[in-house]
């Protein structure tokens, strides 16, 4: 191995997602509650089958995202290489329009107060945030939530279109599940490769993909380049914005906002080690169905002494190596073998993986009057229920049903095995061996998947304190830095002078607050609370006005 790098990665357990959109809402409140980002959802939850957000983004023949192999088998951007990009820079030929997302709106709330006295109750009518005109709401980020408009809308699902007709017809009755999506923070990011200005980059310490807001010139090629359509164009600032993996939080060891607020506890965060020099090779595998295996081969075993030695040589800190050994992500991908990447065929080597849902199978089985939790029945059903497996395979393994089937069998085995324990029956090792595991391992997996203890599902090494003074927020400013806001000072008043590196401040403030137990000195903090980094513990000063001293 030649170059070991660390990557923060996420796994989502789709069996536990109830589609409550809490992750989307908290993410939006944290990151995209500004003008210009009304339509921007760094995190969104899609109902499958469905069109997704933006509509039909998975259809790369239409949207030209990701990579493809040219005739000589070399990797190239699907939307065209460097020269082509520069020649089409004046008008991007395949950029989604606001209608492909949705036209954001607000309501004329003022009407409710300003309307003259009249017989009918005044109504707050919708008004477009794009044109400012009264509008009719016809689409949104999750318009087809829970299969709403199913017979009309669901058939436009690009995944469904690739499946056979018989399957499509049965589909709606067969199953439905939720797919929460954030930026994949790919190992081979096509958005970064598409950026003409070089403003997008992958952080070498933790693999988070960010947009340098000072370097972005608004050429919009990243929007086309990303096959997951997770880079958005802020139409007010004229800059690209994307999921940041909540880097100000993970730098201090806190989980991302979407993970922290997930009520289903279905998100896992951890470190993976990978060989940066084998990334291109893996992305260039000729057969799309081999991409999943090739991707796994790029990831390294943190318990292998050779890997550890190479990682030390490449400057990965000890606590990161320790975190990599404890990483729930590594366990889910390798030890338990239940996590799969989303759309490996885009060849970007995505780093947010998914445990496919077993529940549609269980439901379908229970509906037929069988015991949906008995191992034998379940195994049979997984093989018989072509529909879910085929659909999941289109999502997670470029259409190869075998890996999906293997994962579902393991999840089924876990269900069955643990049920016997819950019912006080003796452990049945044969269930475990049938899926190539041991009873012990199944119990370990059950602990991680079902109990999902906080410190086991989030193993996040902190950014290094010795680097603390150099930590700077590259991609954002502080939301308090508005005219007259408390964050501002400088020789020429508001917003003048050099910006304060916010992360240094929050890093130390948070560390102090978490470790000392004392509230932060109000004089020092000037009543400023960074809610982004507030972990909900304690009551930071400045959150509420000071109470008047009782005399």
């Amino acid at each position: 191995m030649t170059r070991v790098m660390a990557q923060l990665a996420m796994v989502m357990n789709l069996d536990k997602c109830i589609g409550c959109h809490t992750c989307s809402v908290t993410c939006k409140q944290t990151w995209t509650n500004r003008a210009g980002t009304e339509y921007v959802w760094f995190n969104n939850v899609e109902t499958r089958p469905g069109q997704g957000y933006p509509r039909t983004y998975q259809d790369q023949e239409k949207w030209q995202g990701g990579w493809e192999l040219d005739r000589r088998g070399r990797l190239r951007l699907k939307a065209g290489g460097r020269l082509r990009k520069l020649l089409t820079i004046f008008a991007n030929p395949v950029m989604p329009s606001i209608q492909d997302y949705y036209e954001p709106w607000t309501y004329d709330y003022d009407r409710l107060f300003s309307a003259p006295v009249q017989d009918s109750t005044p109504v707050a009518r919708p008004r477009s945030l794009i044109s400012g005109e009264p509008t009719k709401i016809t689409w949104s980020a999750n318009w087809d939530d829970n299969l709403a408009g199913g017979p009309e809308l669901a058939p436009s699902d690009p995944i469904l279109k690739r499946m056979s007709e018989q399957v499509t017809l049965d589909f709606e009755r067969a199953f439905m599940f939720y797919l929460p999506r954030i930026c994949e923070h790919c190992l081979n990011p096509s958005c970064v490769a598409s950026c003409p200005s070089g403003a997008m980059y992958k952080r070498s310490e933790d693999g988070i993909v960010l947009v340098d807001q000072d370097r972005c010139r608004g050429w919009r090629m990243c929007v086309t380049g990303c096959p997951y359509k997770k880079v958005y164009f802020n139409h007010k600032t004229g800059k690209a914005e994307k999921c940041t993996f909540c880097y100000p939080r993970v730098e201090v060891g806190l989980p991302t906002v979407c993970s922290e607020t997930c009520v289903g506890r279905l998100r896992y965060l951890g470190v993976l080690l990978y060989d940066a020099d084998r990334v291109t090779e893996a992305a260039t595998v000729p057969d799309e169905k081999d991409l999943f295996e090739a991707h796994k081969n790029v990831l390294l075993d943190p318990n292998d002494p050779d890997v550890v030695a190479a990682a030390r040589r490449d400057g990965i800190p000890e606590d990161w190596l320790e975190a990599a050994r404890r990483s729930p992500i590594h366990k889910l991908i390798f030890d338990f073998g239940v996590a799969l990447p989303l759309h490996p065929e885009f060849r970007t080597l995505p780093m947010v993986w998914y445990i496919p849902p077993l529940s549609p199978v269980v439901d379908a089985l229970a509906n037929t009057g069988h015991d949906g939790e008995e191992a034998g029945n379940l195994f049979g059903a997984i093989d018989a229920l072509r529909i879910p497996v085929e659909y999941l395979a289109e999502l997670f393994t470029a259409g190869d049903p075998e890996p999906v089937r293997a994962v579902l069998r393991r999840l089924a085995a876990m269900r069955s095995y643990m049920r016997r324990i819950n019912l006080g029956r003796p452990r049945k090792e044969s269930i475990a061996t049938a899926v190539g595991m041991t009873g012990e391992k199944i119990e370990e997996m059950h602990r991680l998947l079902a109990i999902a203890a906080y410190d086991e599902r989030y193993v996040i090494p902190k950014a290094h304190a010795e680097q603390g003074a150099r930590l700077e927020e590259l991609a954002t400013g502080c939301s308090l830095d508005y005219e007259g806001g408390p964050g501002m000072s400088g020789p020429f008043g508001e917003a003048s002078g050099r910006p304060r590196p916010v992360a240094v401040e929050t890093f130390h403030a948070l560390k102090e607050r978490q470790e000392s137990g004392a509230l932060v000195d109000p004089e020092e903090r000037a009543g400023r609370v960074n809610l982004l980094n507030w972990d909900g513990k304690g009551l930071p000063d400045g959150l509420f006005p000071n109470r008047k001293k009782e005399s």
Binding site: L129, G132, K202, R203, T476, P499
Partner: protein, 248 residues
């Protein structure tokens, strides 16, 4: 040479160029966050896909033509065996085609800006001023060419305007050369100077960061968290406005 000529052709160019250069330096140091094309493609694509390439490729051709006409001395092209007639025909034909493309593109873009609601709302006063000055410069430039060289008998600007242009950069402005040029050419030069002076404070700055480096850099960029590097020194304000309906 009277005082007006001195001001117009000996002083104004230096003022405009100074503002151009220092303005860009200032803007780059102070407002990197605002340094963008401010694209409106998200709102409207159909007209943009015709107008924008037409305008931009046209204006690039115009730029090349100006370099050829103003920077390259007549003696050089003659030494290369290009006769005045040949040069004249090529320059007039290419220049007119490029000018018409640019103007047509600009007309489409301005029409789009005015008629497409969201695009019009996103248009600032700064943009409107910039569009007016850009259009004025283009119209004057194209009409100078057409009036003098297509309709008229031809005007050899390479013996007057071009030497003056070069003399400005040699800090020995030959004011009398420009003072004797036809009025349309003079107006074109003046409007261009004015455009250069407002350039750094408009969206036109995106031209200076044309991403030529993309052709040679590796596809995937890695950056270290602690690399530091150059950053904008002005805290982000635009884009942190609270959500709400657009201001009219």
């Amino acid at each position: 040479m009277n005082a007006l000529d001195l001001i117009l052709w000996g002083i104004a160019p230096y003022l405009a160029l100074t503002v151009f250069v220092l303005g860009h330096v200032w803007r780059y140091r102070y407002d990197k966050f605002g340094w963008t094309t401010r694209s409106s493609q998200l709102y409207e694509s159909r007209l943009l896909r015709v107008g924008s390439p037409l305008f931009h490729f046209g204006v690039l051709m115009v730029l090349l033509g100006h370099v050829g006409g103003l920077v390259v001395p007549k003696s050089w092209t003659e030494a290369a065996g290009v006769s005045e007639e040949m040069y004249h025909v090529v320059a007039v034909v290419l220049g007119t085609v490029a000018g018409v493309c640019t103007l047509a593109g600009l007309a489409i873009l301005i029409y789009r800006r005015r008629t497409v609601g969201p695009v019009f709302i996103a248009t600032t006063r700064n943009d409107k001023l910039m569009y007016a000055m850009l259009a004025l410069t283009l119209v004057l430039g194209l009409s100078a060419t057409v009036v003098a060289n297509v309709l008229g008998g031809g005007y050899d600007y390479r013996t007057t305007i071009s030497p003056w242009f070069r003399s400005v950069f040699a800090f020995q402005p030959e004011i009398s050369l420009m003072a004797g040029a036809p009025l349309l050419f003079q107006l074109h030069a003046l409007s261009a100077l004015a455009l250069f002076a407002v350039w750094p404070f408009t969206r036109l700055v995106h031209m200076l960061t044309a991403p030529i480096g993309y052709l040679t850099r590796p596809y995937v960029v890695y950056r270290s968290r602690d690399l530091g590097g150059e950053r904008g020194t002005r805290p982000a304000r635009r884009g942190w406005e609270p959500a709400g309906p657009p201001r009219r």
